[in-house]
Symmetry: C2
Subunit: 348 residues, 2 copies
DNA sequence: GTGAAAGCGCTAACAG
DNA sequence: CTGTTAGCGCTTTCAC
């Protein structure tokens, strides 16, 4: 059975190709009866328009690309990316776009993927995870003519549209919280210092101190890489310096830190208080109720897609940016409940 | 600057469109010098062929679809899916295919996604996660003319190609291991009973007993749904029945089970021995070294893609199946090291 | 080894 | 409201 075409449907319904096209695309200028008639033969024949032909003729593929660069090794270990991907997939679906996924594992992948992404006619728009400084892939994509939205602030923001959460304020709130609880030796476990996320959260940390008229002990800042193990190791390095509270730049690192503390027999928050970032369901990873900065990961993905579609439809110039708010979720690991006599979740 | 076409390159290189096409597609019948020449102008102009036009003319999109149906809610909580996706993405990349992702969240998604998948000209092949019994989407895809590989044994295997791990044998090995260690009250935490994975592992469990000339206590079989929490709850239900060993059908459920045991003050493996399934890095989730059945998740994804490509290139008939082997990884949670005086990893 | 020409199946003016 | 027509940019016979 040879595949059906518009032509076939037109013939069967006794109308022209254009009319069928109009019906398929839900366009006006078709009489109700003709439309109903055409719709019926489409249904009975099981006709589906050919995607390639449509893309070629309309210069629109209805396809969005999600590019996750190599440094995103935590794709498998950090629930962040699955959640993000889900939000993106959901939104694509909602807006009738198809999502294609480009996981760039190494340089070799990059070489094979790059030209594929650049092919005209394949993608109507691109979502790319903000990477480390000097990310070639991002540079290259930025130069292409396909509408682009960067997930997370990129290093070079000139002329590129991006979406991000307000990392500076978020980290500031988290740190202020610890300061206000009276902790005196507040440390931080950062992500890779070459990432903008980590830099922004670092800045928020500093701002909180500045705002309180205090100066942080910089030796209490340990670098991680957003992986759990790095949080574990960072906390081990921090321990001899006797911090009484630590702000971990991701929940997963906070979990690692907790492991390190438990191994040493230290209590959270009794001996060391902890605040995380993400609000990922870590309850499954540790029994400690983690105080954390909640970022709307799924919503982030949805908004990213909507921004991208807007750029596609209304033009990518001028570049736009969208910053989402976060929320400090006070639970037990920061010691607030004990110190202040509160119980359960508290939103500030 | 208007996008470049083959025509443009042909003109600039002083040859015909066909010749450029041959060069682009690495076909023979082009003299070395002409080829070199064309290649150069392609490079200097930064020409990239149009994907839609190519698909339309060649009836090949070089695009594969990965469909994860709604019951795959564990996409975010179980590392299994990120790993699988990574293997698939890697293999697609390697074979010059682009991967598109269809996460089917609910019925509404299904309605929007189905026609998109069925569109001719979009996908050269489809990978679909095996679902629950009566999965409409799978049924529908099976009926379509696009080559299809099901991930995991489907309910109806007639005429459909699929890839799976040898769940029966794997579960049998795991259970035999517990039996051989002398446990007398061996329980099991299953996945949803409507899934083939769970059914097969159930069968393996039974076979191990049969092979040992024993009869399992069926009341020690508790149903979960592959989520951690379900493992936790299942173990709570099991505890009053005093099992001395439990085979959890996934590592994540094993972790839940461990939580339940720890809460009750019971030791693993001292009070209850445990064997999991997957060999996911759960070390981050619990301090217990889990004895488990290792399944090659990433390789599973790679093999699935390769099988699908084979079907695309050599025809989908007759249906093929590929069963991957598993390996029992003996660590500490089964109590083997204590009972047998062994240490560390032991592969059976 | 190379080029001309005929589509691939659809959209989108433009007439009518 | 409907049909005619001209492409979209490439692949692929088929001559030469």
């Amino acid at each position: 059975m040879h595949d059906l075409t518009l032509e076939d449907i037109a013939r069967q319904a006794g109308v022209s190709r254009s009319t069928v096209s109009r019906v398929v695309n839900n366009q006006p200028n078709v009489s109700p009866e003709v439309r109903k008639n055409v719709l019926r033969t489409i249904r009975t024949t099981g006709y589906h328009p050919n995607a390639a032909a449509r893309s070629l003729a309309s210069q629109r593929s209805w396809m969005l690309g999600l590019v996750l660069p190599r440094n995103t090794s935590s794709f498998f270990t950090d629930p962040y990316f699955p959640h993000l991907t889900q939000g993106i997939a959901y939104a694509c679906n909602n807006h009738n776009y198809t999502l294609s996924l480009f996981l760039v594992g190494n340089e070799e992948d990059e070489k094979k993927i790059s030209p594929r992404i650049s092919r005209r006619g394949l993608l109507d728009g691109i979502l790319v995870q903000s990477g480390q400084a000097g990310d070639k892939m991002l540079d290259q994509l930025t130069r292409s003519s396909v509408p682009l939205v960067v997930l997370g602030r990129p290093f070079e923001v000139d002329g590129v549209s991006y979406i991000d959460v307000d990392n500076i304020n978020a980290a500031k709130k988290a740190t202020q919280h610890l300061i206000s609880l009276g902790y005196q030796r507040i440390g931080m476990i950062t992500g890779a210092k070459t990432s903008t996320v980590s830099q922004d959260r670092h800045e928020g940390f500093m701002k909180a101190f500045a705002g309180a008229g205090k100066v942080p002990d910089l030796s209490l800042i340990a670098e991680g890489d957003f992986s759990e193990n790095s949080g574990y190791l960072a906390m081990q390095r921090l321990l001899p310096l006797r911090p009484d509270a630590v702000f971990a730049q991701s929940d997963i690192m906070a979990v690692g830190a907790i492991k390190a503390l438990e191994e040493t027999g230290l209590k959270v928050p009794g001996d060391v208080a902890l605040v995380g970032f993400d609000d990922i369901p870590v309850t499954s990873l540790t029994n400690i109720k983690l105080t954390t900065v909640r970022q709307p990961i799924t919503r982030f993905g949805i908004k990213a897609v909507e921004l991208l579609i807007d750029l596609i439809e209304k033009g990518a110039e001028p570049a736009r940016r969208l910053i989402l708010d976060t929320e400090l979720i006070v639970r037990e690991s920061c010691g607030a409940s004990k110190l202040l006599g509160n119980r359960g979740d508290l939103r500030s």
